[in-house]
């Protein structure tokens, strides 16, 4: 408390009375304004601008022509858009394996044996590695000529297909690469959750004869709700955001078969200078994402409002 005493003495000597009287109003405004201004300029305002751009035709320079809903109408008839949207659905559904796998790995690792802390860290660290590196490694694994999988299958007389240049398989090859770090992330969420599971409830349930699968589903999982919620939200958003892996592994090919909305938007803006059309794709992606953002926020703020 002495430090505060000293501070208050020095404080009394300086500062105008007006500022001091209204500190509780001025301080929050002054504290929040810089962050909010930056955030508005680079995040909030651009969202509004993008939505506006989706109603024009624009090459990135020169005049913008208002075209109303034409961009959206064109999207409806664009097979690549539908392909990308379908792939996003594949991403979304298959990515939800990450929380499931993550839970099982967490259960597997939730033991007290020698070296387990290091093992947990090693299981987690794919998440820390750049997606670009992940994409490069998986592309090597898949390579039909000298990849790991082809090399391993060769003695068995099995010819490994060229996954990333196969129209039917490319997307799934990329999703598998994405699942690797995503599962690691979900695992760490569940490990943290398992740490705070109430041991007394578990013991009581065990005394009542619950074990194994039933104990997990009826007693443990409800206590892991917070971890599950975060894992699912983060995974869904990760799936819809997928860009890096697509860019490095296939560039959306072959023949757009592995395209996703995020990459198709980039493709239209950067390589075809179709800013309006690209913005329309981004707006659709944004609207899909909004559902999940709204869901997340509602749950989060419901908890927060109870707090101070």
């Amino acid at each position: 408390m002495t430090e505060i005493q000293v501070l208050s003495n020095s404080r009394r000597r300086t500062g105008s009375t007006f500022l001091r009287k209204h500190q509780l109003i001025i301080a929050p405004v002054a504290f929040i304004t810089p962050a909010f201004a930056m955030f508005s300029l680079f995040v909030i305002y651009p969202i509004i601008q993008s939505i506006g751009l989706s109603f024009v035709e624009w090459q990135g320079i020169g005049p913008q022509t208002w075209v109303g809903l034409d961009n959206y109408r064109e999207l409806l008839g664009d097979p690549v858009f539908w392909k990308a949207l379908t792939n996003n659905v594949y991403w979304l559904v298959l990515f939800l394996l990450a929380p499931v796998l993550g839970l099982f790995i967490a259960l597997f690792l939730n033991q007290n044996v020698f070296g387990i802390r290091l093992v947990k860290s090693l299981f987690f660290f794919p998440f820390v590695v750049s997606q670009i590196v992940v994409g490069l490694v998986f592309a090597w694994f898949y390579d039909p000529a000298f990849g790991l999988l082809a090399t391993m299958l060769e003695p068995l007389g099995v010819k490994f297909p060229a996954i990333l240049s196969n129209e039917n398989w490319a997307t799934f090859g990329i999703i598998l690469a994405g699942l690797w770090p995503q599962t690691a992330y979900c695992m760490i969420l569940y490990l943290t959750g398992l740490n705070s599971v109430n041991p007394e409830i578990i013991e009581a349930a065990r005394l009542d004869g619950a074990k194994g699968w039933r104990l997990l589903v009826n007693i443990v999982l409800p206590q892991l709700r917070a971890a599950t919620f975060i894992a699912v939200v983060v995974t869904i958003i990760g799936a819809l955001r997928s860009f890096d892996l697509v860019a490095i592994m296939t560039g959306g090919g072959p023949y757009n078969s592995s395209n996703v909305l995020a990459y198709y938007m980039y493709d239209n803006a950067i390589f075809r200078y179709r800013m309006g059309y690209a913005s329309a794709i981004a707006t659709i992606l944004f609207l899909i994402m909004d559902l999940y953002i709204a869901w997340f926020l509602m749950r989060l703020l419901k908890n927060e409002k109870g707090s101070r």
Binding site: I4, Q5, A27, F39, I47, V128, A278
Partner: protein, 283 residues
Amino acid sequence: MFPRPIQERSRSRQLMYKVALPISLIIWLLPMIAIVATAGRSLSDLNRGNYWGMPSEWAFIENFAKVFGSSSIGTYLLNSVIITLPSIAGALFLSTLAGAGLALYKFRGRFLILALFIAGNFVPFQILMIPVRQLTLDLGVYDTYWGVILFQIAFQTGFCTFFMRNFIAELPFELVEAARAEGVGEWQILVHIIVPLVRPALAALAVLQFTFIWNDFFWPLILIQSDELRPITLGLTVLKGQYISSFNLLAAGSLIAALPPVMMFFAMQKHFIAGLTLGASKG
């Protein structure tokens, strides 16, 4: 504890677990092992078609020397550092202020502001892409470090503010009230009471942000054009084209790119995980 501690199981179960653990770890880390092994593979092994077998010799030093000698990877690494560090500092500074503003004062609309910060973090980057690119052009920072740094500061401030607000809201509010009763100004309260208490949160955010910004690929791709300004993630795509058949060199480059965030993670593990799992243990 769930599952039941392995020590309470039969001896054979324990033995099985101890065997299964390293095997599963090796399978799980196969991609990383592949990078490391390939980064040390010699050219003669590659020429002989020995891509995945045991290398006949280790050539780490030669490969690393070759990568640094024949590509701009040194510049790319330096660029990553130049972009990452100021971005972290800026985001932490802004978010400590904003987090305190949102946690210590009651006013209407504070939840709306908080919600905007959180929501903004989850939007797809593509909805920001064209306007942000235009904005950096207008500000004269397109194709400079500053373009990426400014964007990263602004964007990461969303998540950081959310994090700091939650952390500050959990601090004992009596400290602030006591200081106010003593007539201590709000700025002094922030600097002398709040900031010392939020150091663990700042550490957690700093390591998290380091990996997020270091590994970011999209924004430098959009905002940087000159090769000499590219960070390592973009640099790797250049290397990919350059070392089209020299896998060992590309692997060495990938290893170099992955190393800083990995080292940061292992050095600051506790903080890192505390930051990442925020909220995962709440009821």
